[in-house]
Symmetry: C2
Subunit: 356 residues, 2 copies
């Protein structure tokens, strides 16, 4: 990333963002600064944060367990209680230092503590940078149901510094990359072709693509903050992706999938459905499914498992009047929202996926 300051609204990207961050902290009459971390970000990211904060703040550290299974109300209750005990008030701020679990959960905790205190997202995974921390959505899971409880509320600032990505395992980079690929598919064939060149082994060389991806997401979100229309396109691949992710999380026999791994499968399935139901061409179907299978290991699902996954769709947040609604692609860069899809076509899509 070049040294020029990159920002749109309150989203700041690259190393110069820390200047804006320190200015932001200085501009608020802050009582206390809380930082939500997990064991991973404590080790790798908290020292970086400490080295970048210029002001003489005592950071109050709130540590939670790492992992999606802790993105629940019990963790929120622990944090709300700790905030109370440590004297957080309406002039306190929470810095969410971590991946999507921390930015989603920390944003929800801040938005609801004493009816809302300020927070800043400092995403440390690629997934959180290009997806979770932009757009104001926050929340927690309810049992296996993802993000069932939450609100839409924007942070004071989102600080994206790709330095944090150095600490990630390759599979986590690949997981985040799935959302970048999605941004390509829903945005334009030119960005799709560009994003295919992203090098998960050498982010530095192509890191401008991270910023492009944030810009695409942000542009969509600003047009439709409450997801009445175009924001729904960001859900491409997520209807089945979320159900697959929930299913694997809840079944001990099944290896847990990272969010992007599940979404990649969901995107292949939605692409096949798009080919059958709307105008997506066979050439685009091949292009998309081949690109995705190049990066994401295939997972086998039995017929019973597919039925269980379809059963989970009824809890999808985007459902309306009992109908499961998909986002489909009429071509790369062009979406059709609110599409009903018959169950047998979903089974057929899994058949297609199995044979790729």
């Amino acid at each position: 990333m070049n040294s020029e300051q990159k920002n749109i609204g309150s989203i700041y990207c690259n190393s110069k963002a820390w200047g804006a961050f320190n200015e932001k902290l200085a501009s608020i009459n802050l009582s206390k600064v809380f930082v939500i971390i997990d064991e991973n970000t404590k080790q790798f990211c908290l020292p970086i944060l400490r080295s970048k904060i210029s002001q003489d703040f005592t950071l109050e550290i709130l540590e939670i367990e790492a992992g999606e299974i802790y993105k629940n109300i019990d963790t929120c209750v622990l944090l709300w209680n700790q905030l109370s005990e440590k004297g957080a008030d309406r002039n306190s701020i929470i810095l969410n230092l971590g991946g999507g679990v921390i930015t989603d959960l920390g944003g929800f905790v801040a938005s609801t503590f004493k009816r809302g205190i300020k927070f800043i997202n400092i995403p440390t995974t690629l997934l959180a940078m290009v997806d979770a921390s932009v757009g104001g959505k926050n929340g927690v899971d309810l049992g296996v149901l993802k993000n069932q409880v939450g609100v839409i509320n924007n942070p004071e600032m989102v600080l994206v510094d790709t330095v944090f990505l150095k600490t990630l395992l390759k599979e986590q980079i690949t997981s985040g990359y799935a959302e970048m690929l999605k941004h390509g598919l829903i945005h334009s064939s030119s960005y799709w072709n560009e994003i295919k060149l992203f090098d998960v082994n050498n982010i530095k060389s192509t890191e401008d693509l991270v910023w492009d991806s944030i810009k695409i997401k942000n542009e969509i979100v600003l047009k439709d903050p409450f997801e009445k229309s175009i924001r729904k396109t960001l859900n491409f691949g997520h209807t089945l992706g979320h159900a697959i992710e929930s299913y694997c999380l809840d079944n001990k026999d099944k290896k847990d999938l990272l969010h992007g791994e599940a979404v990649a499968i969901g995107m292949i399935l939605a692409t096949y459905i798009s080919f059958k139901l709307v105008s997506l061409s066979e050439k685009e179907l091949s292009d998309i499914s081949e690109t995705l299978t190049r990066f994401y290991t295939k997972v086998d699902f039995s017929s019973e498992e597919i039925s269980s996954i379809i059963e989970l769709l009824k809890y999808d947040k985007k459902n309306s009047n009992g109908k499961v609604l998909f986002v489909l692609l009429s071509s790369i860069g062009n979406c059709e929202i609110n599409q009903e899809v018959p169950n047998d076509l979903i089974f057929e899509a899994f058949e297609f996926y199995k044979k790729i």
Copy 2:
């Protein structure tokens, strides 16, 4: 109340409000209608609601335990799960049929379920009519800390029908009346003098005062929805009132106080402090403390209890940078917000209260 339709914004009052309510339901493309009730409102209020709904909706009933101790996250988790199981989606609506516990908690559950679904408040207690359901505040308690978790989010509509008050015990009416008296104190000496004539034994004769009280609260809330300035005046009597309420709730030796009973004590204490610290006259002090003690039974507090109550003040949501801030009266109808009060003056106020 006369038959003329009374409404400001989305708050509708009197029997004609049901027409607006039915129009509202008809105007939304609703999937399902949920009603949150407790054992009390199930018996007395649900039949009234059923008789008033003109459309052919199947009401999905969600019953919770009655009482402030159930205004907590565990009850929210039960409701979020029931909503999921019963197929609530973003086109569902929740009708909160009950007192402040139900409107506060139900509003929070609706505001956070799938990042927010619609809700309508139908307050059935005087307290909920004149206070809880107006202004968009919702939330739950965290242990003994009142309303520590919540958001500000407005219902689609607030439907006030004093017919529900017929089902209330006199002590509940008196509890709600405390907030009306507060509205008088912070608004004007003319409304204060008028409100003193409210007859808790015969609401019908003076029920226009209920509507006046709602209007005063609403006017303040609209000027300052996020409580930066004038909305803080609604907190008159609540800083110590909340602490007293929490203390009694948490101590088995102490009889639980209704919210208004605790706030009445808090108002007497704040009035004495106002007399000592700002310009409130001795005549006004007598007027206010005599009026309040006429309606509210006195409670004895030992020195240890007073210390514990003061200790609880540090959790007050309105605190800023570790300072406990009071709303005081410079005269009836004129408030001074953000006032620091030394602990020994709080003790002195309790002494004054003891001797009335």
